[in-house]
């Protein structure tokens, strides 16, 4: 029997607001001392009260708009109770019953669609670090605003799961609502998977794989979980509803908590936080400031005839995508070469740490033009391109760099003619010269190579070819 897998994904996105969701302290704790970005509210001191951060509401509206979701004009906060040392109040303020973001739809690059069930605002918890017989609590992250995006079970393969998560990441990054750094945990994914016989209208029992934080692990974990469930069913066993964890090293999911052990969160409307009541005008004013979406960029890049993987690779880096649109709108003939430089060179692993802002659109256009006009060989063009991303070169133009690096192509016929004469006179070239004179034109490429070597790669091979043919008729 054939089986279909059904996947639904919950994604937590940390918002890049200046201050936390309910307190006025720094929300950016990267490289800060533990417990240095903590207010009495985050510390859950008695008598302190949560004060909602308006900027988080605005970012939620942007996020919702980016996902084509309906924004609910009235939404409320609820308390989700559980005990853990990284949760100072003993409850998380979340939106259980009336979330700010309603249903929506995301179109993936492969043209498939995933519906969004809803998305809600909530606060992040702190962080525990475990040592031998004790653990340390860091509350810097406690109170960071999150939106949790809940998809409908519209995904049917590990690859599509990955595509959905990547697209979500792009949408949020382009909306400018998150720093989007997966390594820092800015986006975390919970993947729900079940399998059912193909054509069945009933879904199987699902398992949830918690806290995945790379696209690769999402795809691998989904694939592994599918195989695990398939093996169980083929053995005639049933699937348990449970939470599982993914181990990247062993490439396996392992059971964490069964349905019976699931916590009762005792949800309750939070009496300390008044409801969010928005007007249509307010929402529209925020929504119209939504930056351009990946879909817009994809349409722009269609003019350049890039293949899909190249487009998507560039789209992963909004700076590059914006730059590419800039150059495309300036000169769409010169743009494809720049796109290839981006995807082929800059996005190579060893260059990812470079500051992608360094090369300006006009520098990139100038450089592409130089290659177009044969002033630089395509190899030399690549070298100059990468040197534009060296911070020492920020004040230098591509032409200046090419000169400095001695890469400008030699098109001067007199100078080339002199070099060619020297080469023809060389004893090791004598047999090649004879061959050509005898009509064996294949040997000409050997001579071109020699000329190129002598010119230290600067000679334009086409010109050399032409000159050789004149000299050795």
């Amino acid at each position: 029997m054939k089986y279909t897998m059904t996947i639904g994904i919950e994604c937590h996105v940390q918002l890049n607001t200046k201050t936390k969701l309910f307190s006025a302290v720094d929300n950016n704790a990267v490289d800060k001392e533990p417990n240095s970005c903590v207010s009495p509210v985050d510390y859950a001191l008695p008598g302190t009260l949560p004060v909602l951060n308006k900027a988080a509401v605005e970012k939620a509206i942007l996020a919702g708009t980016a996902m084509n979701c309906q924004i609910n004009l009235t939404s409320r906060f609820d308390r989700k109770h559980y005990y853990y040392p990284d949760l100072p109040k003993g409850y998380q303020i979340s939106q259980m019953y009336q979330p700010i973001i309603g249903s929506g739809l995301i179109k993936l690059p492969d043209d498939s669609e995933v519906r969004i069930e809803h998305a809600h605002l909530e606060e992040d918890a702190g962080k525990l670090t475990h040592f031998g017989n004790y653990s340390l609590v860091d509350l810097n992250r406690a109170g960071t605003p999150l939106i949790e995006i809940v998809s409908m079970p519209d995904i049917h393969s590990p690859a599509q799961a990955r595509l959905y998560c990547e697209e979500l990441h792009r949408l949020m990054a382009y909306a400018g609502i998150t720093n989007g750094d997966l390594y820092q945990g800015n986006m975390r994914f919970d993947v729900n998977i079940s399998i059912a016989p193909e054509g069945s209208d009933k879904l199987g029992t699902r398992a949830e794989i918690k806290n995945l934080n790379s696209f690769r692990s999402i795809e691998r974990a989904a694939e592994h979980e599918y195989q695990r469930q398939l093996a169980l069913i083929e053995k005639g066993e049933s699937i348990k509803q449970e939470t599982r964890g993914w181990n990247d090293t062993t490439a396996k999911t392992t059971a964490q908590r069964s349905k019976e052990e699931a916590q009762d969160y005792r949800y309750m409307p939070d009496p300390d936080v008044p409801p969010i009541v928005l007007t249509k005008d307010f929402v529209e004013n925020i929504a119209k400031n939504l930056p351009l979406t990946p879909t817009y960029y994809r349409n722009e890049f269609k003019k350049l005839n890039l293949d899909r993987s190249e487009t998507e690779a560039i789209l992963n880096y909004p700076i590059l995508a914006k730059k590419l649109v800039d150059v495309t709108q300036n000169d769409s003939k010169l743009a494809p070469r720049i796109a290839h430089w981006f995807s082929g060179l800059l996005l190579a692993e060893e260059n990812l740490n470079k500051d992608f802002e360094l090369a300006t659109a006009s520098e990139l256009l100038e450089l592409s033009q130089m290659v177009e006009k044969n002033k630089l060989s395509s190899t030399a063009g690549k070298e100059v391109f990468l040197s534009l991303y060296n911070p020492k070169n920020t004040s230098k133009s591509p032409l200046a760099l090419a000169k400095e690096m001695n890469l400008l192509q030699e098109n001067d016929t007199d100078a080339l003619s002199a070099i060619i004469d020297e080469v023809i006179a060389l004893p090791e070239c004598a047999s090649a010269v004879t061959d050509i004179k005898n009509g064996e034109t294949k040997a000409i490429s050997f001579l071109i190579g020699q000329v190129m070597r002598k010119s230290a790669g600067k000679a334009n091979p086409a010109t050399v070819n032409q000159l050789l043919k004149q000299k050795l008729p």
Binding site: Y43, P46, G47, P85, K89, G90, R266, M268, P271, D272
Partner: protein
């Protein structure tokens, strides 16, 4: 109330209060006393007056603070073992506002731990005695503050009222107590009990003093998003003839006849002053207590979750794992009544019971609010007793939590609706126990209630 000036020294006012604290030590009113700092602040105020500098409206006036208000001054225990050593790094907005007007906090008063109770017997520091009869309870939970005013130690004291915690002890000790409209005074810096009905108010000897203190405490606070913009500056119309509704449901069987006599005595006085009094029955009020003990316990259970022994407060010794840290710290830090409410609250919120209890209670609460709205189309003010009987004996209800909860039946409904309600001295029983009359108004009609109350005092008995 006496305010410091060129002839009345702040230091003398504070000194007098401190010696009375000593005199009435037996009543167990104070958990901590702030003598040195109070005298220093008083000396500073005297100096300012001598220099001809401007001083606040309450310059040099000593006051007592219910020990669930946070302040950098001393410890905030909430009368619990959980917080017995807790020194707060922040100061409650209410305390700050009084400070700015020159009032001087001379000590922190006793309460039921975490304000859970109606007698101040649930305190980790032992019960406070009633100001008129030392064998009886002070009422609660703000018992210490009520007795401090009743015995003349301070002209006013701060309290908090979630379901009657100011009004009932005011009634039991013969002083004025106000629970203002929900949101009138910032809750910032006050140990939360039940967030949706917690209010900050005060005790004083007269409606005028109460009005002065409340005018200072009121106003919106950016640190409390549920606080209301200041409405205290809006003056009610003077000498207006008011339509008073006497809630007949609370003048029926089960209410002490002497309590009813006191209320009826007030009725005739107000009628003489040109107000009309008419009976009104509100059958929904009989559900008030049930609604309250579901919603309040749910919020209590939630609000007390933060006391986990991790960051501050009591932490059990010799623990070996996380569950023990939580379990033992909370077990040792909370009193029986705290635990009872945590259990009930978690029960009514738990999956499978939420709809039947919490959700239903919230729906009933909406009906209660609607019923009040209807009644206030016909009446300006509602009148009823604060409690069915005068102060009971210490220990009388300790083993009967239901009887203790029934003490709250009349004070709880306005709390659930966020309405202002005050307790004013309405007379004494033959045994010499005071009885309070409760005036309830529509939202933000607090000053109308105080105006009406001040008429009683003007009329010579």
């Amino acid at each position: 109330m006496k305010v410091a000036n060129k002839t009345t020294k702040a230091v003398d006012l504070v000194q007098a209060a401190l010696s009375k604290i000593e005199e009435y030590k037996y009543y167990n009113i104070f958990i901590s006393i702030n003598a040195d700092s109070a005298l220093q602040q008083a000396a500073k105020i005297d100096q300012r007056i001598a220099n001809g500098e401007k001083v606040g409206k309450l310059a040099g006036v000593p006051y007592a603070l219910k020990d669930n208000f946070l302040s950098r001054e001393g410890k905030t225990t909430a009368a619990s073992r959980m917080l017995k050593d807790f020194a707060a790094p922040i100061t409650a907005t209410a305390v700050k506002k009084l400070e700015e007007e020159g009032a001087i906090m001379i000590g922190r008063t006793n309460l039921d731990a975490f304000a859970h109770g109606s007698s101040t017997e649930n305190s980790y520091f032992g019960p406070t005695l009633n100001s008129q009869d030392q064998t009886r309870v002070a009422g609660g939970s703000s018992g210490g503050s009520a007795v401090a005013v009743a015995l003349g130690i301070v002209p006013f004291a701060l309290g908090s009222d979630t379901g009657g915690s100011i009004r009932q002890p005011a009634s039991y000790n013969g002083v004025v107590g106000i629970k203002p409209t929900f949101g009138t005074v910032s809750r910032y810096g006050v140990v939360a009990m039940a967030s949706s009905t917690d209010t900050i108010g005060c005790f004083a000897n007269t409606a005028t003093d109460t009005d002065l203190v409340m005018s200072i405490l009121s106003g919106q606070d950016p640190k409390d998003p549920t606080s209301l913009s200041n409405f205290w500056q809006n003056k009610p119309k003077p000498d207006q003839s008011l339509r008073i509704g006497l809630i007949s449901d609370f003048m029926a069987e089960g209410v002490d006849p002497e309590v009813k006599d006191c209320i009826n005595h007030c009725v005739s006085k107000w009628q003489k002053n040109g107000h009309t009094v008419e009976n009104i029955s509100m059958p929904i009020l009989k559900y008030g207590l049930a609604i309250y003990y579901i919603v309040q316990t749910a919020e209590v259970a939630s609000n007390l979750s933060r006391y986990d022994g991790v960051r501050y407060g009591h932490r059990a010794q010799d623990i070996t794992n996380l569950n023990e840290l939580y379990g033992k710290s909370r077990d040792e830090g909370f009193m029986t009544e705290n635990n009872r409410r945590i259990m009930i609250g978690n029960f009514v919120l738990s999956s499978g019971f939420f709809d039947a209890y919490y959700l239903k209670a919230q729906k009933a609460r909406t009906l209660l609010i609607n019923a009040y709205n209807d009644v206030f189309k016909k009446f300006d003010v509602l009148l009823c007793p604060v409690a069915p009987s005068p102060a009971f004996k210490i220990g009388e209800n300790v083993n009967d939590p239901l009887a203790m909860y029934l003490e709250d039946a009349m004070s709880v409904p306005p709390s659930m609706a966020g309405l202002p309600a005050i307790s004013i001295p309405a007379g004494t029983t033959k045994a010499g126990l005071t009885v309070g009359a409760q005036l309830i108004g529509a939202r933000q009609s607090d000053r109308t209630l105080l105006n009406l109350a001040s008429e009683l005092a003007k009329e010579p008995n």
